[in-house]
């Protein structure tokens, strides 16, 4: 039932977000239309952080309780987190090329997002390459927990590293004051993308639960 409501609500919210981002919000004065990517770029980034926090919580709870539902939560959230982090980075690059005139710069936030994505891609790779399926859960939970503990350290190291070597890369980013209508559009888009995350996560976990059941049944049949 919850899934059905979410399944109707999420597309509606996404359409509303499109309307707010492209029609309702005013065009930015210096950057022009390309700035509108911001309404999806920022929510995707926030959602990827939420997803990675969920991976950390799921990993910790799985190590504590060994309940497979936590493992499923962590694993599926990491997949979707990597998806949103890649969306965030790709949209950022599409925006940066016309505005900063480069695809990429080693700015603190960009570097942090890249490293976050790399940690959780390696987490997913580990899941794919573990030889023994019974061990996959705990191994991934250990890496998920270490990865989540790494996030604040990464944040501090990169902040510190960037203030050590100040590089004037970004002139007046999106941070310096927004039009109220822009805030509204951003808020709508953030809610829509978070709904999308929750919906995808629930569907992905349901798929994972069924494939676990299938594997179990296959083993039962094979052992007969």
């Amino acid at each position: 039932m919850t899934d059905r409501i979410l399944g109707i609500l999420t597309p509606l919210a996404l359409v509303a977000a499109l309307w707010f981002a492209f029609i309702y919000a005013p065009t930015e004065a210096t950057m022009g239309t390309v700035q509108r990517i911001f309404y999806f770029h920022v929510p995707a980034g926030i959602t990827s952080y939420v997803a990675f926090i969920v991976v950390g919580i799921g990993s910790l709870m799985f190590l504590y309780s060994h309940d497979p539902k936590w493992d499923r939560l962590a694993y599926c959230s990491a997949e979707i987190g990597v998806l949103f982090a890649s969306m965030n980075i790709t949209m950022g690059m599409l925006w940066a090329k016309p505005v900063w005139l480069v695809w990429w710069t080693w700015d603190a936030r960009l570097t942090l997002q890249l490293l976050l994505a790399l940690i959780f891609i390696s987490y997913l790779m580990l899941g794919a390459y573990v030889a023994d399926p019974l061990k996959r859960g705990s191994l991934q939970a250990v890496v998920g927990l270490l990865g989540a503990a790494d996030v604040p350290l990464n944040y501090m190291a990169i902040r510190w590293w960037r203030t050590q070597h100040p590089e004037p890369v970004i002139g007046g980013g999106e941070g310096s004051g927004l039009d109220p209508d822009m805030y509204v559009a951003l808020g709508v888009a953030a809610v829509a993308i978070l709904l999308l995350y929750v919906y995808l996560l629930r569907r992905r976990m349901a798929v994972e639960a069924s494939s676990e059941k299938l594997r179990y049944l296959e083993q039962m049949v094979a052992s007969r």
Partner: protein
Amino acid sequence: MKPILTLILKDVSIELRRKESVAAMVMFGILVMVIFNFAIESANVDPALRPDLAPGILWVAVSLSGILGLNRTLAIDLDNDSIQGLLLAPLSRGSLYLGKVLSNLLFILVSDAIAILSVLVFYDLDADRRLLWVALVVLLGSIGFASVGTILSMVSSHTRMSEVMLPVLLIPMTIPLIISCVAATATALTRDAARPSLSLIIGFDIIFLVISYLVFEHVVEE
């Protein structure tokens, strides 16, 4: 404490007989610096600026040869499945972890010492008091590297291609450590010999030692 010492002695005596891991690490570290020399050549770096490259090159050499060493010492335990013997031994999983961290750290430090000497020679550093600070940064950095590396090498040993999986897991995880170590080394090597900031490195060491110590049993349990 005694079982941990026994574990370290075991690894050291195996290494003294085989002379494989440390030799390979030292050689690899030197080779990295040789490659860097030719990679930098094309940029026509002013000879006076060569010492500025030293911190970065030192840490590339230290971390890559550290990964090589972690893979080698893991292979010793996986050969003949002797890890099973360690798991059956009457010692807690935490002590097993600490023993492996310390023996890995010992090998890493030996190869680090050679790496510091090589970078001193190849990148024209002055052998003065500042090198002591560099040695301290390398020591603290290697503790963090060995503590994450030991648990992740155990994790990767359960995968189908453990030699590749270890760097894939370890490098993104140790980036905050590498960033702080490179910065601290660079500060230590400045002309006025400023005191490098070590708090983030020590924080990394403590956080990862504690978490790894607590979760190690989940990695080795059957």
